[in-house]
């Protein structure tokens, strides 16, 4: 069996394309994965540039897919927290190679990560060092 001939069916991909091709879906997944629990406005802030409409819609789709869990508290002012489900965590893990591939191609992007905590940036650099 040739080493570089690992064949995969593209049919499952068709299904997932709709999900991850949503401009913000993977970003939300990753942000929640980084932070654990976040409130609506916290996600808005973390994903600089997303509109409340888009965030709201995308979160609903992610919930429908069983990737994100929503918990609301009967308080005033209202409080709602979002986090990944186990499935969401798995998805996030499965895109890490993709992240690494991207980072490896354009390490220039690392410098633009002003919205990322220094700890994450440091870890990225370390990961890149290991891989190269």
């Amino acid at each position: 069996m040739p080493k570089n001939n690992h064949q995969t069916c593209l049919c499952p991909l068709k299904g997932i394309i709709d999900l991850i091709s949503k401009k913000w879906a993977l970003l939300i997944i990753n942000t929640l994965g980084n932070s654990g629990k976040l409130r609506f406005n916290q996600i808005m802030h973390a994903l600089d540039g997303i509109s409340p409409k888009t965030l709201s819609e995308t979160l609903k789709e992610l919930q429908a897919e069983g990737l994100v869990a929503r918990e609301s508290f009967a308080e005033i002012p209202p409080r709602v927290e979002y986090c990944l489900t186990n499935d969401g965590v798995d998805l996030r893990k499965s895109i890490i190679p993709l992240l690494e591939w991207t980072a490896k191609r354009s390490s220039v992007d690392q410098k633009r990560c002003e919205s990322c905590p220094p700890s994450i940036r440091a870890r990225n650099q370390a990961n890149l060092g290991e891989k190269n």
Copy 2:
């Protein structure tokens, strides 16, 4: 260091979203990866439903990104072959976990893979068996 707290920066993701959010990009990558070299009309046929315009445009972008190589032969009728570059092969490898995640979620999709060669389907089943 908590085990489930592997943090990743989302900035590289922003860059890749544009690429993979193209409806057909990953499908082309994977099809080429499965088959090695393919001609324009072969890709058209493999990706049932894509229009020549969309295929042409997407192939150009993938070439511009250095993921796909194009080789044309001065023959009549003309012949052009596409294949993955090394970078393209790497990208394809990096999305395999994503494919596996998707396949694991909805093994029902496996049954709809009528366009896939039986050998690929068999391999998918085997891979699923290993993972579960």
